[in-house]
Symmetry: C2
């Protein structure tokens, strides 16, 4: 931890380390002071103890007092922590049935003034922990508790974080330092940050985590061996104390690499036996182990294809091994031909997930969950929703987002993704007729999935503020809040984060909210236009490179020529991808007239002079948005600079520095995109702005 | 050495290791057998000993005998090795004055039949060594020695090899394994390959070498410290025994990094003193040390600019330190702005060397030599000759080639560069009127330079055949022969190499000669057209990427748009680069009508429909050459395959494998270049061949 401390006074260099759990001293502490001095605890579990500790520290920090912790019941004004089993609810006028409709993670927050007590009551201890964090949000935001009575339960069952951390300490697509879990081919010695990460995760309701990269290399393969399992257990214990279940990403070739078998064929009996014994071994260390995350037969990773087997056989052998322990297999659907020939116009990466998995519906065991990226490509700033979502009524699905800003500015550029995720969650797939939203698929209600939920690629590392750019904390926070309850508005989530992170100064709230809420569109404005995507530098994916992927084996194209641009994915003349959607979506996307502007070039190849629904031509839209994008970043900079002195100096400089780099990036994008298309089209900007 | 041996019988895996020094058994040995059994040695020096050893081993190998070595004179039929000082020439009817016109490295080869002796007589022992290798070439090629009487001396004074070897064992722009000098941050333990490399170098007349990369990183900086100097001496001793002088590339910031001075300002007295003492220290280890190679203020390397000084001050401080020991400073002119803004059309990298150095003529001390790349850019497959060559009449110049095929196929693709280098050497700069060829600049005759010559970046590594592709040995061989005597024809050099490497089978000679002599044009055909260059993948520089450098800080552009392509470097409307040449070259390049087709796009921006002198349009030329390039590679493959059984299996497979990869590369180039320009121009191929 030393590196994040100021050596002179051993203080943290910035409060940004605490993210939204800063527990800033309250301005009007007296209105809560009656109840803040005592914590009454009705249960003694590891998770409740975590809640008590959090509460104690928070009250200490916000009220500058040391609350006494007593067993429940007590007659004093107090905050009561317990479960509905351990607290006699009828004494507080609460019907016990209230809880029977709540899922296991639900909770009640209530101020029972007559009884002098605030109740933080979970259906289980996990609910109590969530209730505690919720209550602390209320206190930090200085909301009234006079009429406090809130009943809450998460909408999604699996709320998962995927670390892409490698055991050498690097993070694939990490933009905020190195891993907090691993270092130098082993677990880190000091697990303080793992504990603090667990607090952050559970404070926003995340209940599962896979701690290693989905690309499992040589050394990581050993995470499920006796060499590393004791350390995995140590980490899992910490996470478990915050009600977070640990998963591991595994190497599909483990039976060969660890077991010295000659095959990893899922239908081979020895392989089946090996997995069964391996899983038993893992659970002997970690009884609460969650299961495996698997990237198989994808981007060069091993998988069942080697043996002429498919995803069903591949996943089910693991599922059978995990079943006795209630473990799950999270099987990623990011499977496509990454050795494509650019000359082949028929192969379409966008089609791949659907083409690979759709026909397998109903064949996976019930503890297999397919993890599907939100779009058919790979977390571009703008993509349509993956047509596989909702297309498998008899197969558990989990939706995957990417908090790490791989294609959206890499935590240099501000790009607040909650609005994007809201659009995805609210998208109507029409899988079972109108109202078949993505969120109803993810929460399992549409098809009655046994398991489902939402996962995301983490954006944190060992930077002092966890996320490189402090504003990127908002994506982590927002992800948790949103997947707990997809019906929360962007506005609610955003305001909450700003208040908890920056306090209540209206000017601060206003400017930051403006920046966050506009940032996604701004990023889209100065990067790849109209849904075409992929105009980034290969490999590292930052900065513009219009032809970067145009002739690559990764198979993503824009086909820009002197006349027009876009990928024809229509049914009649294109790759047919549009036909993977349910009607009426298929028809809308397939139609040049009705396809939304923002996805036009994803579905259609059009002349530069094509008129958008907005009334602009494609080429003029490109010019306009790119000039506009830069102007918006300049505006962000002005807004941010106006906050000098109003936010902590460290944070001010952190964001200021990144905004400057964002501006350079935006200018480079603007000029390269505009120049590229001007050179190709020969059509000048109507406003005569400089193009090179 | 173990890795290049077949473990079972401890034999070399391939004769390719011996390159052109295979000393294949002679078919008609008897015609030389009289003289082959005795070696008569007139001098006892390290270099003569090397010659004797080479001769002994070669005779043993070619004649299957062990010649006796005797002191000269002897009455037996023998081969006499000595210098003109140690052998009484008049006894052989040779006028001693013959040698007074020869430079120190010259020699005489003569069969004095009456005296029963073949004379290998050097002006110095160095000449004797060269005479020995020359004689062995004659034997290996089974030429008649009946009338043998050859007088030879190198045309160029400095004939230098630049290793770009890093001390970690990697080689910058190395395409044939790791360094033979360094490994794991130290010198290699086994110097066998260094000795064999020395044999190869001296066999073709190379007399100087810089053993470390011109980019001198942290650890390499220490090569001139006591930590490494004993090892440098060990290597230098081996090289010296083959008459090769050792140079080191140095870090201009050495006074700070090694000497703990606060500055490396060349006008600072302490710095001056530090260099003087450092040079003295180096010479105390290596009395025959050659001097320093310096890349300063180039591509981020430190240099005098930091202190507001220029190249003159920068080089002269080193020159003063080296002067007492007859050491030299080889100062590279590869200086340009590598942080260019692509929007800035006025900055032109092609202008940089001339702009940086031309005005400094006459200011460098006489032991400074400016090393100038053959073209103004960076070893592209086609560039004009650097206008700096010949532009400084009072400053020593050395010409730099690149044997390593960085931009010319990376020793995967066959690209025989002797024809390119011949063009450069024969180019008339008109610096002092007609006949001011580059070769007359390099050999010092045009301006009477005190020091001059030709250097090249090496293409060897620790691959068993030294050069990755065995055919790439021809570039190493040819470089040495050509710079010894730039008037040798390509045909002579090529035939020599093939005979020495593959023997005398006419079919083998014919096919390989065909491939070599066509390969440069073939490579040009399928890569960047008409001199425009740089359409390669950034960083590693292999394979096509038309826009790879178009928007980069490295500053090299083609400006292709929907109407045309090329860089306007004319005097009137362009960067003015054409004006850096002497007349009439300036006028020719500046003129759209007279500019040679092959350099058209280097000097002019023209419409795709522009008619070349060949009668073709630019666009049709692009299509034609790219289809043709692939067909030529297919033809090479057929020709090579016809040699199965006629060349050693290992070599056959080595070249076959690389030709296959070359074909894939050529197809990728063809399709990407043609597609790119078809999309941009919209003009179809007249022959309707497939474009994607």
């Amino acid at each position: 931890m030393q590196e994040i401390l100021n050596n002179e006074n051993n203080q943290l260099l910035t409060n940004s380390y605490h993210c939204w759990l800063q527990y800033r001293k309250l301005e009007n502490a007296e209105k809560y002071s009656k109840i803040a001095s005592t914590i009454a605890v009705a249960d003694d579990t590891v998770v409740i103890n975590s809640a008590v500790n959090e509460l104690k520290n928070a009250l200490n920090s916000m009220f500058d007092i040391t609350p006494s912790v007593q067993p429940f019941p007590t007659n004093e004004y107090s905050i009561v922590l317990g479960t509905y089993e351990s607290v006699d609810l009828e004494e507080f006028g609460i019907a016990r049935e209230l809880f029977s409709n709540l899922n296991e993670e639900g909770y009640l927050l209530k101020y029972a003034e007559n009884q002098k007590q605030v109740l933080l009551i979970g259906k289980t201890d996990q609910g109590t922990l969530y209730a505690t964090f919720h209550f602390l949000r209320i206190l930090q935001r200085e909301e009234s508790i006079d009429d406090l009575e809130i009943i809450e339960a998460p909408k999604n069952q699996l709320r998962m974080m995927n670390q892409w951390d490698n055991i050498d300490g690097s993070i694939e697509r990490g933009y905020s330092g190195n891993s907090i879990f691993f270092n130098d081919n082993d677990f880190t010695n000091d697990l303080t940050r793992v504990r603090d990460y667990a607090r952050l995760l559970s404070s926003v309701g995340v209940n599962a985590i896979s701690i290693n990269n989905v690309n499992v290399w040589d050394i990581e393969t050993n995470l499920i061996s006796e060499k590393f399992l004791p350390k995995v257990k140590e980490v899992a214990d910490i996470l478990e104390s915050y009600a977070i279940t640990t998963y591991l990403s595994i190497n599909y070739a483990s039976p060969m690499e660890l077991g010295n078998l000659e095959s990893a064929d899922p239908l081979n009996e020895e392989v089946e036996k090996w997995w069964a014994e391996k899983v038993e071994e893992i659970y002997s260390y970690i009884p609460e182990f969650g299961g495996f995350v698997v990237k198989a037969d994808s981007e060069g990773r091993p998988g069942p294809f080697t043996y002429g087997r498919g995803h069903v056989e591949g996943a089910n052998v693991l599922a059978r091994a995990l079943k006795p322990f209630n473990g799950k297999v999270v099987w990623r659907c990011f499977v496509y031909n990454c050795l494509q020939d650019w000359r082949d116009r028929k192969t379409d990466r966008a089609r791949a997930a659907y083409d690979n998995f759709k026909s397998l519906d109903g064949q996976f065991l019930d503890n297999v969950i397919l993890q599907i990226k939100n779009g058919p490509m790979d977390f571009q700033v703008r993509e349509p929703v993956s047509p596989l979502l909702g297309a498998m009524k008899d197969t558990n699905q989990v939706l995957e987002f990417q908090i790490a800003q791989e294609y959206t500015g890499q935590q240099i550029d501000v790009c607040y993704l909650i609005p994007q995720w809201k659009e995805v969650l609210n998208f109507d797939t029409y899988a079972k007729g109108e109202g078949s939203t993505v969120k109803s698929i993810a929460d399992g209600s549409l098809y009655g999935y046994k398991h489902s939920g939402i996962a995301a690629v983490s954006n944190i590392g060992d930077d002092i503020n966890w996320t490189g750019n402090t504003l990127a904390q908002a994506n982590f926070y927002g992800f948790g809040r949103l997947i707990w309850n997809p019906d929360l508005t962007t506005d609610e989530i955003t305001k909450d984060w700003i208040h908890l992170t920056f306090g209540n100064d209206p000017k601060v709230v206003e400017e930051i909210e403006y920046m966050l809420l506009h940032s996604w569109r701004t990023y889209e404005n100065y990067t790849a236009p109209l849904g075409v995507g992929w105009m980034v530098n290969p490999d590292h994916h930052y900065g513009p490179n219009v032809e970067g992927y145009e002739y690559s084996k990764w198979g993503t194209y824009h086909f820009a020529d002197r006349d027009g641009i876009g990928v024809d994915r229509t049914i009649e003349t294109g790759t047919g991808y549009a036909g993977q959607y349910f009607e009426p979506n298929a028809k809308v996307y397939n139609s040049l007239e009705n396809c939304p502007d923002e996805l036009l070039l994803f579905f259609h190849h059009v002349p530069y002079t094509h008129k958008l629904q907005s009334g602009e031509t494609v080429i003029q839209h490109i010019y306009n948005t790119h000039y506009q994008g830069v102007e918006e970043v300049e505006d962000f900079i002005q807004r941010w600079n106006s906050l000098k002195g109003k936010v902590e100096d460290w944070v001010f400089e952190n964001v200021k520095d990144r905004l400057q780099r964002q501006l350079e990036n935006a200018i480079e994008w603007r000029d390269r995109i505009n120049t590229y298309f001007y050179r190709k089209s020969g059509i000048p900007d109507q406003q005569g702005r400089p193009i090179y």
